[in-house]
């Protein structure tokens, strides 16, 4: 479109030149002053062009009281330039508006955000940061550690590699829990985020304490109940036949309850970090061989069992929890595989690390359950799991223990064909 209008302007200019030149030539023909008229015409044309150029320039410089050029090419040029200018201004306004909106959004966030340079000098921060860190707008350009002087914080700030967030129990004279995290962003700049997580932290702590205390308190009464039930079952002559079946059921259920409580206690122990203190070299091959003996004793009649264990392969970790990971995964495989099925356990290493894998030809798990499988007491099929004697906590324990060993549980499964539970260690 612009090209056609420019060419239109040129053609208009050419028509104008032709007409005006015609008039001058007619005048010359009448008077006979050919050379003089030609010079006069060139002079006139030059004046016209220079005047238009002056108007064009003045309009671009926004000089007052000067009209926009009205002649030929200059008029068209001016309209094109001003069109382009308006479009640019509109875009700039839009960008400006967007960045202002972005700025306002970051100001309104309830999390404190501070942008720092490579040397921890403050660049900008939002309103929440002003109150949480008690810094003022005039502090821009100062080093953050000169104003926030808590030793733990300074230590965290000085770290080169910032992976884990820092939890501060007290900060700037407030005894509340804060979550502090620093990211690298935008060409070596750093972004500090500080959030008050006191309520959440307290809630998690209350839940942990409650589970630990409740299971601990329940353990003793259950042992007593269980003991008496066992005593009654041991003397079958003295109780009526009618009570035999109920007593057996009661004993079975109380044993199940005990198992649940033991698992709950294990879980809260794992969560409270007390286990991680004793990291040793675990001879996984030996542990698995011991498990194999038990498993073969229990299931070798009904199942096709394969143990493929690489000799001498060890892992840094805590032995007891790891053992419970392996037994949980292996016994799950048997629990959910019909008799006559095949279960294979593999422990091997390759270039990417160490791997543990349990494969079965069991009933399988459908996709929608996979993500929730490691939740406490989550059941795919409630009736079936109870009857098979699980506590509902096995996979939760597995998940937590693996987290402490910097690994995670991977599950592949197909309904009716079987499942593979695996985990990788570095």
């Amino acid at each position: 479109m612009s090209r056609s209008s420019v060419s239109r302007a040129i053609s208009r200019e050419l028509i104008w030149v032709a007409i005006s030149l015609g008039i001058f030539l007619f005048f010359a023909w009448l008077t006979g002053f050919w050379v003089l008229t030609l010079f006069a015409y060139i002079f006139f044309y030059l004046i016209r062009q220079i005047w238009s150029f002056y108007q064009f320039e003045a309009c671009l410089r926004e000089v007052p009281n000067v009209d926009s050029p009205q002649t030929g090419i200059w008029e068209e040029l001016y309209s094109l330039v001003s069109h382009k200018q308006r479009a640019l201004k509109k875009r700039a306004d839009l960008q400006n508006n967007k960045s202002e909106q972005f700025h306002a959004a970051s100001m309104a966030l309830p999390i404190a955000i501070v942008s720092l340079t490579k040397n921890h000098k403050i660049e900008w921060f939002n309103n929440a940061a002003q109150t949480l860190l008690s810094i003022k707008p005039s502090d821009t350009g100062r080093k953050l550690e000169t104003l926030v002087r808590q030793p733990e914080f300074i230590q965290y700030l000085k770290q080169k590699e910032l992976e884990k967030p820092l939890f501060l129990e007290a900060f700037m004279g407030q005894t509340r829990t804060y979550r502090c995290e620093i990211f690298d962003y935008y060409h070596g700049h750093r972004l500090l985020m500080l959030e008050d997580v006191h309520e959440l932290y307290n809630l998690a702590k209350i839940r942990k304490d409650f589970v630990a205390n409740a299971s601990h308190e329940l353990r003793t009464p259950l042992t007593v109940v269980n003991g008496y039930l066992e005593m009654m079952i041991d003397v079958p002559d003295q109780i009526p036949i009618f009570w035999k079946k109920p007593l057996g059921q009661m004993h079975h259920q109380s044993l199940r309850m005990q198992a649940i409580i033991e698992d709950l206690l294990t879980l809260s122990k794992i969560e409270s970090d007390t286990l991680v203190n004793a990291i040793t070299v675990v001879k996984v091959d030996e542990v698995l061989k011991n498990i194999e003996v038990d498993i073969r004793y229990l299931y070798s009649e009904d199942y096709d069992i394969h143990f493929l264990i690489e000799e001498g392969l060890t892992l840094k970790g805590v032995e007891e929890p790891l053992k419970s990971v392996f037994t949980n995964l292996i016994s799950n495989a048997f629990r959910y595989t019909p008799k006559g099925g095949k279960v294979s356990v593999r422990w091997y290493s390759d270039a990417s690390g160490l791997h543990f894998e349990v494969e079965d030809t069991g009933i399988g798990i459908s996709k929608e359950h996979l993500s929730r499988l490691t939740e406490r007491f989550y059941r795919v099929d409630t009736a079936r799991s109870r009857e098979s004697g699980g506590t509902g906590l096995g996979l939760a324990i597995v998940k937590h223990v693996l987290e402490k060993h910097d690994s995670e549980l991977k599950i592949q499964s197909q309904i009716g064909k079987g499942s593979i539970f695996s985990c990788d260690f570095l």
Binding site: S134, L147, G173, T175
Partner: protein, 242 residues
């Protein structure tokens, strides 16, 4: 010297050294703040483990003071700073001394908690002067925070509020002393405990004095004027001019 820029010298080394010195002081200040926070929570909860932690922490603070001295000597010997740079060095040395003393006073507070724990006859929270002790310590903590922030911002704007706080602390201290003296007369059998409270009160009052000293050093750094021995009226006039 309104705004401290460490990039205005021809010598890059001097810039670096001065900035390092500046950061060191504030880092040391952060340690004392942290120690004081811990001591406060130990006082309020009669927590012996925290109190022991406070005393352990004092060693690190002493080391920080020595490190600052070393840095100051290095700058003085190698670069012979003048004018505001020289004032910065002098102020730094003084502030480091005050901070180290504060660390010692905080340790005295922690020792009170430990002694009360050992001597079970003293139920500390019931004693006269204990509430005042916590009050003075909290105020001193606030004063320290204000002075260190003033140092970080190289401005003496908040000097007036420090002076006001100091006066309040003096009044509270005088009242606490009077109460404790009364108790001395009434129950002579508790002399040991009361003496401990008295020592701690004295320590917490000294904390606020040191905070004031630091503020004076900052005024010296910013304005180049020594206000240490000025009488009250002239000092107020001077500060109002700022």
């Amino acid at each position: 010297m309104q705004k401290k820029e460490f990039s205005s010298h021809i010598s890059n080394q001097l810039n670096r050294n001065l900035e390092e010195l500046f950061n060191h002081i504030l880092e040391m200040g952060g340690m004392v703040e942290n120690q004081l926070d811990m001591a406060l929570s130990a006082l309020e909860n009669a927590d012996v483990t925290v109190a022991k932690e406070v005393i352990r922490f004092d060693k690190i603070i002493n080391q920080a003071e020595m490190e600052i001295d070393r840095l100051c000597i290095r700058v003085l010997a190698r670069q012979q700073p003048t004018a505001s740079d020289l004032r910065l060095i002098l102020a730094t040395i003084r502030i480091a001394i005050d901070l180290e003393r504060m660390g010692d006073e905080v340790c005295k507070l922690a020792k009170l908690v430990i002694k009360f724990h050992k001597n079970e006859l003293c139920v500390c929270a019931n004693y006269a002067g204990y509430a005042e002790l916590v009050d003075i310590t909290t105020r001193s903590r606030e004063m320290l925070k204000i002075t260190l922030n003033a140092f970080a911002r190289v401005s003496a704007e908040d000097a007036m509020s420090i002076l006001d706080q100091e006066e309040v602390v003096d009044q509270v201290y005088a009242k606490a002393c009077k109460d404790v003296t009364e108790l001395f007369k009434k129950n002579p059998e508790n002399v040991e405990c009361l003496l401990e409270v008295m020592t701690a009160l004295r320590a917490s009052e000294r904390l606020s004095d040191h905070a004031l000293n630091i503020m004076e050093s900052i005024i010296y750094l910013v304005q180049g004027k020594d206000v240490r021995n000025m009488d009250q009226e002239r000092l107020t006039q001077f500060l109002e001019k700022l």
